[in-house]
């Protein structure tokens, strides 16, 4: 309608048109407000009401031994509740559920009648039974039967290799061991399913949903050998019982690669019951996270340093008067021993503190501590286990170091190490002076099919091969020469050292308790195993030679039988 026509139109019509125009303007303004100004908010509300976004949990990877024994895996447990008021034929339902729940139908019916609904029949039905009950629910359409599932972490071995494995708690938070250290690889990446939803808030299959699939976590194979782990655990439990020790550890390492073949600690707890009182403490891994003063086993390191530096040799004759003053402190041999003239084998056989002191003093603090650090003490080994401690090695000029420390450190007092550090360091001697990084993850199998294999890693050469060879011979002679030492394995030459360490307490050392240990390797000429046995506060004897050495022998005998390693005479004859 042109302006001319409008001007000729009656006034009422013009008024009506103006009103309509005004209404249109208001509507347009409101439309602009809702569609443009508040578009984001309205769109979000609509999406929220009309679509659903369901998370898809990634499966957490499994943990297995090197030989494929399952140690940890995700599983599902089912909770079944019943409201008998909404069940038409409770007898039929009871009859169907009874075999799946492992209860009698009569017992179930009695519960239906006596208990207040909703009645929880089980909270931990396994998958086969749970899925069967879910089928009953689906087929019958009974509203009174509710079956729900939840993902749980299960440890079929219970206490087996518990400190190595670690656990995942009910909040899905990993703790300790592999579960914690390798959690990034184990947990995978959650996915989600988004799409238009129906009235039941489920994705409508017609509308193509946006599916971001979950990426399952990787399966981790350990270097732990199930049979060797079993041997270590059984022998440690026996040793704790026989010696009435408070706690203890056994570590078995392959010196050529650094692979941890067995790692056992006592006390231990069932991983499936981590929440029970005291179990969290029992599940901490002292072999990597606890520090202790190693005592005389550390003389292996001192002698290695002195031999390598050339300050002593196998032919050196020592004159031991039984005591020496260093930095104003009196250093004495155990039991006030004063043997007089001894050779290097004698020094190790009699475990003479005074001669170890002379060696560290002869090396000088700088050189001695350089060797100690080269052997890996004072730094984490970088093993794939959570909460690893670094140990404590004092340094000249760090404010804590005193001259007397040079003496006490030489025989393993005033210095803190972890059992794994100690084992790895002695493994370097067994491995011709080459320190390997101890490792426990053998292989990672990712869900996309790719496989990562751990390659043994050389940390550094700590002593010359000739030094390692000489020390091995001396250690072997010392074990043979010590009549009270029970570490011998008939048919196999072993190299090793006992340790009986005082335990530091506030203000000094525990006057009664000791840490008794033995560390050794066999066969001495071609070591397959380095074994550390450590017992804390044994009651039957305080000496490592009495309580730890027999455990070493018991473990070593079984290990050589397990792998079918012939005795030295036959093995060397076949070369």
């Amino acid at each position: 309608m042109s302006a001319q026509v409008l001007s000729r139109a009656p006034i009422r019509m013009r008024a009506a048109l103006m009103v309509i125009f005004a209404i249109g303007l208001v509507l347009a303004a409101r439309l602009f407000y809702w569609q443009i100004v508040r578009w984001d908010e309205i769109r979000q509300r609509a999406d929220k009401e009309q679509s659903v976004d369901t998370p898809i949990d990634a499966r957490r990877g499994s943990i297995l031994t090197s030989d494929g024994l399952l140690l940890a895996q995700d599983s599902f447990l089912y909770t079944v509740t019943v409201d008998p008021r909404q069940i038409d034929k409770p007898q039929d339902l009871a009859r169907q559920l009874a075999p799946l729940l492992g209860q009698s139908a009569d017992a179930l019916l009695a519960r239906f009648k006596t208990e207040t609904p909703p009645i929880t029949l089980t909270k931990a039905a396994p998958a086969t039974a749970g899925e069967a009950m879910a089928d009953i629910h689906k087929q019958s359409g009974m509203n009174g039967l509710v079956v729900t599932s939840r993902r749980v972490r299960v440890y079929p071995g219970g206490t087996f290799a518990a400190h190595v494995v670690g656990f995942v708690n009910s909040q899905n938070a990993p703790a300790n061991g592999i579960e914690s250290f390798m959690s990034t690889d184990l947990r995978g990446v959650d996915g989600n399913l988004s799409g238009a939803s129906d009235a039941l808030r489920e994705v409508i299959p017609f509308d193509p949903p946006t599916n971001k699939p979950a990426i399952d976590g990787a399966d981790i194979y350990l270097t732990i050998d199930a049979a060797m782990q079993r041997i270590a655990e059984v022998e440690l439990a026996n040793a704790i019982r026989d010696s009435r020790a408070a706690s203890g550890s056994i570590v078995v390492l392959d010196p050529k690669t650094g692979a941890i073949l067995a790692l056992a600690n006592w006390p231990v707890a069932d991983l499936n019951a981590y929440g029970e009182p005291g179990n969290l403490q029992r599940l901490l891994d002292p072999a990597v996270s606890s520090q202790y003063e190693p005592g005389s086993v550390f003389k292996i390191i001192t002698v290695a340093a002195a031999l390598d530096a050339g300050t002593v040799s196998p032919g050196t004759v020592f004159d031991d008067s039984g005591s020496i003053y260093v930095g104003g402190s009196l250093i004495k041999n155990h039991n006030d021993l004063a043997p007089g003239r001894v050779d290097l084998t004698g020094v190790l056989r009699l475990s003479l503190n005074v001669e170890a002191t002379k060696m560290s003093v002869g090396l000088g603090a700088q050189r001695f501590y350089q060797y100690v650090r080269n052997f890996g003490f004072g730094a984490r080994t970088r093993v794939e286990l959570a909460d690893e401690a670094a140990g404590q090695v004092k340094s000249v000029g760090d404010g804590r170091w005193r001259e007397a420390d040079l003496a006490t450190n030489s025989f393993g007092q005033g210095i803190s190490v972890t059992p794994l550090q100690m084992t790895a360091a002695v493994a370097a001697v067994a491995n011709r002076g080459i320190l390997m990084r101890p490792y426990i993850v053998k292989q990672i199998r990712y869900s996309n099919g790719s496989v990562f294999n751990t390659t043994p890693e050389v940390v550094r050469t700590v002593i010359r091969p000739e030094t390692a060879q000489t020390l091995t011979r001396v250690l072997g002679d010392a074990v043979i020469g010590e009549s009270s030492n029970k570490a011998t394995v008939p048919g196999y030459r072993i190299a090793g050292k006992t340790g009986t360490a005082s335990i530091p307490i506030p203000g000094g050392y525990d006057p009664v308790g000791t840490i008794a240990s033995f560390i050794g390797y066999l066969p001495a000429d071609d070591p397959h195993f380095v074994i550390l046995v450590k017992l804390d506060k044994p009651q039957t004897s305080e000496w490592g030679s009495q309580v730890a050495s027999p455990v070493f022998a018991a473990v070593a005998k079984q290990l050589v039988a397990l792998i079918g390693l012939p005795p030295d005479t036959q093995r060397l004859a076949s070369r």
Binding site: L69, S75, A127, S149, F160, P205, F206, R230, K557, A561
Partner: protein
């Protein structure tokens, strides 16, 4: 313009045959498209339901499989195996009970030894030919080689 009767347009009350066919064709086409659309929708929905069912089935089998793996792991635990073996009268072999056979100069990590067929000694292993047999029948057999086979 007087006397001229204005020509009025007659309403087109009847559709011509061509228009009707066109209209019917259009309606049919729209109906066909609708049916195709609905059919495809139905198929897609069915496929979606089927896919969801299969997914549920897959999840269920995975869950049951995980449970079976756990049961197997429990049965394979070294402690259980040792107890079972003990109950059956077995005991761990000690190294002193193990008999080792010493094989001197055993070729460790060498290539697998493949048995080669022995080279036949000249004349000793060959079968007589038909011609030889015929000659033998008429008394003209060649001289038999009696030399023993010797190894290489």
């Amino acid at each position: 313009m007087a006397g001229r009767i204005p020509k009025t347009r007659e309403p087109n009350s009847q559709l011509t045959g061509g228009s009707l066919r066109t209209m019917l064709l259009l309606v049919g086409l729209i109906a066909l498209l609708g049916m195709i659309y609905l059919g495809q929708n139905g198929q897609a929905t069915m496929a979606g339901h089927r896919a969801q069912d299969l997914k549920d089935q897959y999840d269920r089998i995975q869950r049951e499989n995980a449970q079976l793996e756990l049961e197997i792991a429990q049965l394979m635990l070294p402690a259980r195996v040792a107890d079972r073996a003990k109950a059956l009268g077995f005991h761990p072999a000690t190294i002193t009970q193990t008999v080792f056979m010493v094989v001197k100069n055993y070729p460790v990590e060498s290539k697998p030894v493949v048995a080669r067929p022995a080279a036949p000694a000249p004349g000793s292993l060959s079968q007589p030919s038909l011609w030889d047999n015929l000659l033998a029948l008429v008394g003209l057999a060649p001289t038999t080689n009696t030399a023993e086979a010797t190894g290489p």
